[in-house]
């Protein structure tokens, strides 16, 4: 069965049991990432996109469903996973402030994956490899003596990326890698990430809430709302012809700089209301309370994902 998907997720559910009730953070999603592609996952806060990444990485034990990595079922949490698997799948976290241990030097932080997976033999080689990693992300060599709080947010994020790439992974999960950073640093880091992807033949799951960034980075895009995927398509199709009302609402509200871009946006849909709490998901389609195109059926029945055109999937009663 020739399947060049590096990652396939089937009916993934992750529920958290809290005092307020059951939080259905990820509520039945299906997606697949091909080898060597950048798959974008878009959503606002509470959509569950970060939870998807953490479940794939193994921080959480999934509640239901399957995660298949290169024909191997890896639906266990990280404690039960093999060391080889941990080498293959790496994650870059969102907040540069807390993704590096403030009590450890950059050298010690970058050395850890090398030591754990015995990538190099002795201390001297390790130091060389650490310096190589720093050079790869265009940071000066003497950063090995520094501590995370001494360097800026963008640089910390570059160290996180270097750390993720230290084990030569095949799949890298990037959870909002540049959301906390300035525009010019974001440009630098994104370019670096794209370069690495080409050079090392990596596959990315790229998560962000910035649709415009996604347009320029991902080859396939899926958009999430309250734990479910609303729409999924290849990037050019997704932005040229957004079908789901939520996608249209988001795209029409993003601020752009040029008239040219303004024309590309769908007709302005005024965004109303706020995202409901994930403990109290309304019945039927989770978006119906804010949807301008709501129909009767939307508050009763949850729509299923249909393929409207080849490769373009939507979950909405408008297209059933």
């Amino acid at each position: 069965m020739a399947n060049n998907n590096i990652l396939t997720i089937k009916n993934l559910k992750k529920y958290f049991i809290t005092q307020q009730g059951i939080v259905k953070a990820v509520n039945d999603i299906n997606l697949s990432i091909k080898e060597g592609e950048i798959f974008g996952l878009v959503g606002e806060s509470g959509s569950g996109k970060s939870t998807v990444a953490y479940t794939i990485a193994g921080s959480y034990q999934l509640t239901e469903g399957e995660i298949i990595y290169r024909n191997q079922d890896i639906s266990n949490e990280s404690k039960k996973r093999s060391k080889e698997l941990k080498k293959e799948i790496q994650i870059v976290f969102q907040d540069p402030g807390t993704s590096l241990n403030p009590a450890r030097s950059i050298y010690q932080i970058l050395e850890l994956p090398l030591k754990v997976h015995a990538i190099v033999k002795n201390r001297k080689d390790r130091t060389e490899k650490v310096k190589e990693l720093l050079k790869m992300v265009e940071l000066p060599e003497d950063y090995i003596y520094k501590y995370p709080q001494m360097i800026g947010g963008g640089e910390r994020q570059m160290v996180s990326i270097a750390r993720a790439l230290a084990t030569n992974p095949s799949l890298v999960l990037l959870d909002e890698p540049t959301s906390a950073l300035d525009v010019s640093i974001q440009a630098k880091i994104i370019n670096m990430l794209i370069q690495f992807q080409k050079n090392f033949n990596l596959s990315y799951l790229f998560i962000t809430h910035d649709l415009i960034l996604m347009r320029n980075v991902a080859s396939s895009v899926a958009i999430m709302y309250l734990g479910k995927i609303c729409e999924k398509a290849i990037s050019s199709e997704f932005f040229r012809n957004p079908l789901h009302p939520y996608t249209q609402m988001l795209l029409s509200s993003i601020p752009v700089l040029t008239d040219e871009e303004e024309k590309l946006k769908p007709k302005k849909i005024k965004s109303t209301g706020e995202i409901p709490s994930p403990v109290n998901i309304p019945p039927g389609c989770s978006f119906h309370s804010r949807c301008p195109k709501k129909m009767d059926i939307c508050s009763k029945e949850d729509p299923v994902m249909v393929e409207v055109t080849k490769g373009h999937f939507v979950r909405c009663h408008l297209y059933n």
């Binding site: 440009a187 993003i254 995202i275």
Partner: protein, 333 residues
């Protein structure tokens, strides 16, 4: 000749730290006219928050020293004001809203008590308002920012509200008095896109209704474009360009402005620019002359020696760059 509402002239500010002094502000020239909406674009640590905090003197760090320059508010020198005078200004004439609404609200007091406190001390004492009147004003303020069910919100605590609602409460608090100037420091950054959109429209409407000036700081260029009339771009402690908002995005003149605007991803999907090589200067040892010169594509010998002043291109558009010296008259300080 109208007096500008805010007129910062050649402001130099430094912080004393271990290893020397951080020369953070290096000759800031910044003007805001009455009833004008001004944007301030700049990246992290360029000094924008420091500049604005020094207008209302809430810098908070005792090691900050203003070595040169003036800050004039309605013609009055802020730096010479004593504590009572500046408190008066803060209560009645200038308000500020911050990036993180959660941090701006006291978590152990209800929204109502915080609002009522502000009303009491800004107008209540003078006009001798009763408790009932203060409560009515508080509810009015919440209604103005389109918050549903204001009575319930008055008795809620900040943690019970969502991020968008908290930011609206902060805006309501800022607009309580008959102020002349509202400073908004990255108001939408910690919120979702759709909520951000709503908040910005709200701010826009309120500002129009009250006819006040706004200084909007952001590193999200799209936000600035939609709301402001005139925009400053700041780099490493001084303003590098100022122009009408539309003009600055269509025709940025300063190399930094050009690089910055080019680095913003576009919906057309043409990929992302390379970013700007180099990094922001070390404020302990800033580069001589123009602080952007180590990263500038068009660097000339004079750039390494002398810091360019604001050179006039037209009535409103000014650039601090030696590239434009031959063509234009020098504005001078």
């Amino acid at each position: 000749m109208q007096t500008p509402l805010i007129n910062i002239k050649d402001l130099h500010l430094e912080f004393k730290v271990f290893g020397g002094t951080l020369k953070v502000l290096d000759g800031v020239n910044f003007t805001v006219w009455p009833k004008e909406k001004v944007g301030l674009i700049g990246e992290a640590s360029c000094g924008k928050t420091t500049t604005l905090k020094s207008i209302i003197k809430i810098l908070g760090m005792t090691s900050a020293r203003i070595t040169k320059g003036k800050i004039l508010f309605k013609g009055r020198d802020i730096l010479k004001m004593n504590k009572a005078e500046i408190q008066d200004v803060r209560r009645k004439e200038i308000s500020m809203i911050f990036q993180d609404p959660t941090a701006a609200l006291n978590p152990v007091f209800s929204i109502g008590s915080q609002l009522k406190n502000i009303i009491k001390y800004s107008v209540g004492l003078k006009e001798n308002l009763t408790r009932k009147e203060i409560e009515t004003r508080a509810i009015e303020a919440l209604k103005r920012v389109m918050l549903p069910d204001p009575e319930r919100i008055l008795v809620s605590y900040p943690i019970q509200l969502s991020g968008g609602m908290r930011q609206r409460v902060c805006i309501a608090m800022a607009l309580l008095s008959n102020l002349d100037l509202l400073i908004a420091d990255e108001p939408g950054t910690s919120l979702d896109v759709t909520i951000n959109d709503q908040i910005l429209h709200l701010l826009d409407n309120l500002v129009k209704k009250k006819n006040i000036s706004v200084i909007l700081i952001s590193h999200a260029l799209g936000m600035i474009k939609n709301i402001t009339e005139r925009t400053y771009i700041m780099y490493a402690g001084s303003m590098v360009e100022v122009a009408k908002t539309a003009e600055i995005f269509i025709n940025p003149l300063h190399p930094y402005s050009q690089d910055l605007i080019a680095a913003v991803p576009k919906l057309t999907g043409e990929g992302i620019s390379q970013g700007i090589p180099g990094h922001i200067p070390d404020y302990l040892n800033p580069p001589p002359g123009c602080r952007y010169h180590p990263r500038c594509r068009y660097v000339m010998p004079i750039c390494k020696v002398k810091n360019p002043p604001f050179l006039k291109i037209n009535e409103i558009h000014q650039v601090a760059c030696w590239l434009f010296k031959k063509e234009v008259n020098q504005v001078g300080k």
